[in-house]
Symmetry: D2
Subunit: 136 residues, 4 copies
């Protein structure tokens, strides 16, 4: 399993009228962790584009367990849980001071040929190779 | 079933480097449809606050079926599919010109007592009454 | 003077912990009005791209006169105040019910050649023609 | 002069269809630097609220000198340039590797009594004291 963790802090611009992070902003937090994971694999957004594939998000699921307050720190761990046919990433957001779970999430991406716009039923060889390199 | 539809247009500020709406922005689209549904029920954000309850989102799920492009129109239908213990809302985003499905989504909210911060295992009477009034 | 007005409503996701629209979100409101103005001129984002020019924002100024609350309506008038060397647009946001001023703003865009990335010291002929057509 | 610098990186969710940071997102960058400056002064958002004053942004001005690309780093320096009657903060965003200027900006905030909602023509004593403490 390939896993990368980043640390972020809830910002003022993330807050809703209750003083908590608005639920829609977590997509940004997940993306920062996902980018760190893909950087680690050596297959980030620019490398995807160079390889001739787009990887749109086709599913996103979030469970909000506890709210986040102003300046509260969070550790976001992104783990690649499936890669052969699609890239499925699980996320766990915890408070690094208490280890309490804040949010659990999952995103699914599929490869799309940048020219033909055809969705790939199996992951392109270049992604499989990069994942194998990190796993071994 | 209580259902409300709104119509929106993808804006330039919603677009990602592929020229498609960035997946995280759909949370805003869902919220506009949800607010229209809750207005229709007579239990919008201000009425929730006046009733002594907060209704945080505890789950959000999205399936992105087709992308949205600049100035593409969308019709978002929000339907209350569960209300007795929680407010579960299903969303369907379609292109109003082709009726093609763009996105399917679901959000779940639970009532929290604004003072005690205690999560309610059944929906407060005021919400049930408002839903019943619209249903009959 | 070419002028176009649109009407928007402050959304829940725009609100800050004081229950007012967060100051940074007004850039989205201005952009919707600017897009409506450019559509009217026949030189929107896609037509700019087709003409071989990008038009990045090089300046933005906002004066926040009164706050905006949840579901408050606003009328945003965008007026092209300069076009020969750059596109300067003035914005006035008012409450359509009271005509009270909420925000005044201005953006400045310059043409950049999409290939050479060179900034143009005078506006390209295609933009000047389109403006003249609307003015006459 | 009181000055604080932070370092950020342009994220994927910040990018527009040209692959550059959308101009409206800089308000978030400025806010992170402003919060760091106000933390340093000991008068952040929570301390403002406790002191009985809100400090809404009444003006924001930005000059975009160079664009920001995906994963480009930026150093944002926020400097308090006026504090006696209002809090005026100047921002300079530079690329930390080349020292090239990316953006210059300014925000102005005024104190508003949280109860009476009256705008203060001079800064409240508590803010002046905190600024004096850091200056000496």
């Amino acid at each position: 399993m390939i896993s990368v963790a980043i640390q972020l802090k809830a910002q003022f611009y993330d807050l809703d009228p209750m003083g908590m992070v608005w639920h829609g902003h977590y997509a940004r937090y997940l993306e920062e962790a996902r980018c760190a994971l893909l950087d680690h694999i050596g297959y980030n957004y620019q490398q995807m584009a160079e390889s001739g594939y787009l990887w749109p998000i086709v599913e996103m699921q979030l469970k909000y367990v506890r709210p986040l307050q102003f300046q509260q720190e969070m550790r976001i761990t992104a783990t690649l849980v499936e890669y052969e046919n699609r890239a499925r990433i699980d996320y766990l957001i915890v408070d690094p001071h208490t280890e309490q779970v804040i949010t659990r999430a999952r995103t699914t991406q599929v490869a799309v040929d940048a020219n033909s716009k055809e969705m790939q039923l199996v992951s392109p060889a270049i992604f499989l190779q990069k994942v194998q390199q990190v796993l071994t």
